[in-house]
């Protein structure tokens, strides 16, 4: 097994069997001989999760071996692994858009069979405390539009390492010029171009814009709050309507008021530029917050404030990141469920969050200890009330549409392609892709 980093946690194996049998809660007893193999991405949240796995082993007697891979490699590995009759992985972390591929190919266990099993399901799990937008976006499939909850939907994964969008801003710059934190898109766009005038050499709002997925992601970040969507309910592309054009215009304004080279920014470049004091604001995932407060990486530590993703015609922050699922070819699905349940329980979620992970529960964001350690947690918790599960379609054809959209947006940003003309082209090609994939068969 090719791994970037493999962690073997064998605490339980070193403990005397009798001691384990006495201390271990009953639900875990049948799995004392099991060593679970889990596949995690190289991601700060999962680094934090690995830190608490020895606690799981100590409490349950179940050993865990982690195969941690760079996330694209992880996806490739899973693609091969999940088609085998007998798999290597008991539990996998999957990036949100893999949900469509894995569920459609019938490669994940429906979690109902575990939650229905009284020997496995913890009555204190409190699923209602899980952040609803995350569960809908990452965990559920088979309902409305096929990838959302609804009367026919089922749960295939639990959010773990999920993210939403928030607005970071430089408190020192805002105080210096008497600026108000933007609450609406109009205010945001005005400030994005005002800051470079007030602070020559500084960009307004750091944003992704690189050709392909990054430009598409940045566009989608504005599309939902401005009232747009990629498709209507009949799968007709709508990214080229007035709301879509407004979202593309917003992105172009933001990039045009950025620093040189901002059209090549991915998330890391945008975050690095903000952390190096080259921007007044940053609108992206909560995952970057801890880095901005790390004085070894950031020159703006202590000068960053956080606010909700500004409101357009509605308030809608993004949902994305990772979830946990049990492959259909998992050698130990029941024990894997116990680990998944433990990691996403109130206690597990808090333990991972205290190590620097992203909480998946509202209660974790309200935890005083966590808020003392990470003061921005309360704002992030509030942002999650507005997390939009349908901010981008999670369908098998999305990869192709996403690339087309992102490439066209890059042409709009760098080659002055007309916005309406560019988006009309994307809509036309998207319709052809959807038609070929059978989305209009019933029309």
């Amino acid at each position: 097994m090719t791994t970037m980093k493999t962690t073997m946690l064998v605490t339980a194996l070193t403990l005397p069997a009798a001691a384990i049998a006495q201390d271990v809660p009953a639900p875990y007893l049948p799995y004392q001989d099991v060593t679970l193999v889990v596949n995690f991405p190289a991601h700060p949240h999962y680094d934090a999760a690995i830190e608490v796995l020895d606690q799981f082993t100590e409490e349950t007697g179940i050993a865990v071996e982690v195969d941690q891979l760079e996330y694209l490699r992880m996806r490739e590995r899973q693609t091969l692994e999940l088609t085998q009759d007998e798999g290597d992985y008991d539990l996998i972390a999957y990036v949100v858009f893999s949900k469509a591929d894995y569920v459609y190919a019938d490669q994940l266990h429906n979690l109902a069979r575990f939650f229905m099993n009284p020997a496995l399901a913890d009555p204190d799990y409190d699923a209602a405390d899980l952040i609803d937008g995350y569960v809908q976006n990452i965990g559920v499939a088979g309902g409305d539009q096929g990838y959302l909850p609804g009367p026919t939907g089922s749960l295939f994964g639990i959010p773990f390492g999920s993210e939403t969008s928030v607005l970071g801003y430089r408190t020192d710059i805002f105080e210096k010029h008497g600026l108000d934190v933007p609450e609406t898109y109009d205010e945001l766009l005005e400030l994005a171009c005002l800051i470079p005038e007030l602070e020559p050499g500084m960009g307004g709002l750091a944003s992704r814009a690189a050709s392909g997925h990054q430009a598409s992601h940045a566009f989608l970040l504005h599309l939902n709050p401005l009232g747009g969507a990629i498709f209507d309910e009949a799968w007709e592309p709508t990214m080229n309507n007035a709301e879509g054009v407004a979202a593309a215009e917003a992105l172009k304004t933001i990039v045009d008021c950025g620093i040189d080279g901002s059209t090549t920014f991915g998330p890391s470049e945008a975050a690095a530029a903000f952390a190096q004091g080259q921007y007044g604001m940053f609108l992206d995932s909560i995952a970057f917050a801890a880095g901005f407060e790390d004085e070894t990486q950031s020159t703006v530590a202590g000068d960053v404030g956080w606010a909700l993703h500004p409101m357009g015609v509605e308030r809608a922050s993004q949902t994305g990141g990772f979830g946990l699922a049990i492959p259909r070819n998992s050698p130990n699905p029941e024990a894997a469920f116990l680990l998944m349940q433990w990691l996403t329980s109130k206690e597990g979620d808090l333990a991972v969050a205290m190590e620097g992970g992203n909480p998946s529960r509202f209660s974790t964001y309200q935890n005083e200890e966590l808020n003392a350690l990470y003061p921005y947690s309360a704002t992030f918790g509030e942002a999650l009330e507005y997390a939009a599960p349908d901010w981008r379609p999670i369908i098998p054809t999305w990869g192709e549409i996403n690339a087309d959209l992102g490439t066209t947006l890059s042409q709009i940003l760098t080659e002055d392609l007309d916005i309406q003309e560019g988006l009309d082209g994307v809509a036309e090609r998207t319709r052809a892709t959807m038609e070929e994939a059978g989305y209009y068969t019933w029309q």
Binding site: A105, I259, T264, G399, T407, L413, T414
Partner: protein, 304 residues
């Protein structure tokens, strides 16, 4: 009977190795050809995929992204190979001298091609960086505006061309230098005796005699430039827009992001067809030139 057996013996000994070679070489190609006729995504086993005949091949020509990436690839290959050949051969001509320190200089020249392409991409990406890159810092210090090396389509194309030239000109330089140094001295001396100028010697003696090597060198670079991936992936990831989206990147994206393995295989086969045609053409041309050079060499040696 014994004679016939004797004639067959070497073939019998060679057969197992030849069979292994044929299977090892052909199997992946045949697999790719088979896959190109399927509607196959990575969540399926190949046996579960639907047979779609030539649909993937036909559909590609109505895909504007494929057509554009093919055009970018052709332009990229033509530009880099032409410039690298001119520079590499030119440098070899200049450095084909017995001067002090020349060996060190030659060693320095070949260093770039020893660096991993990913690292080359990173080095140039940071040199082109709008804020901290050395080129823009120079431009600023001289009072000029910064240049959008990687953030403008036209600039980005030429920026990746420069990186490729930097890395691969040494390859042409080495082979050209070796070819120059193996030229028959008699021919060069005869030209000198006949009063040929340096330029005439290059044009009428050196280049014609080097031609077979230059053709092979050019072919190798051409094949490589059609398959270039890592440097561009790291520097621009195909952008801005489609300005640097070469075919290998499109193939990789089609297979991993769009999960269309059949379509990616069809694209790969188009690339294979182009390269095979190029290789055969250059091989035939090279054979013809070899015969011509051999005649020239014999004639030159005869005169001396």
């Amino acid at each position: 009977m014994i004679q016939a057996a004797n004639r067959l013996t070497p073939y019998l000994f060679l057969a197992p190795a030849a069979l292994v070679m044929i299977v090892a070489l052909l199997y992946p190609i045949l697999y790719m050809v088979y896959a190109s006729f399927l509607d196959w995504n990575p969540s399926q086993r190949i046996g579960e995929a639907d047979w779609v005949g030539i649909r993937n091949y036909v559909n590609l020509w109505s895909d504007p992204f494929f057509r554009e990436s093919m055009w970018v690839t052709l332009r990229f290959a033509a530009v880099v190979v032409t410039l690298e050949m001119l520079l590499g051969v030119g440098l070899a001509m200049l450095l084909d001298r017995r001067l002090r320190g020349m060996a060190v200089l030659r060693t320095i020249f070949i260093l770039p091609m020893m660096i991993a392409p990913i690292v080359v991409g990173l080095i140039w990406k940071y040199m082109y960086h709008p804020q901290v890159g050395i080129f823009n810092r120079w431009l600023k210090s001289w009072g000029f505006d910064t240049a959008p090396f990687l953030s403008d389509g036209t600039w980005a194309f030429w920026s990746v061309v420069v990186a490729d030239i930097w890395q691969w000109t040494p390859f042409i330089f080495i082979l050209s230098l070796a070819a120059l140094q193996s030229l028959p001295q008699s021919a060069l001396e005869a030209a000198k005796v006949d009063g040929a100028t340096g330029w005439q010697t290059v044009l009428h003696i050196k280049l014609p005699l080097m031609l077979p090597v230059l053709i092979v060198t050019c072919l190798l670079r051409l094949i490589d430039s059609f398959k270039v991936l890592e440097v561009i992936l790291v520097m621009t990831n195909g952008g801005p827009g489609l300005s640097t989206e070469i075919l290998s990147l499109r193939i990789s994206r089609t297979a991993s992001e769009f999960r269309e393995l059949g379509e990616a295989a069809a694209m790969s086969n188009y690339l294979l067809i182009i390269l095979t045609i190029l290789t055969l053409t250059m091989y035939l041309y090279s054979k013809a030139q070899e015969i011509r050079s051999a005649r020239l060499r014999i004639a030159a040696e005869g005169e001396s």
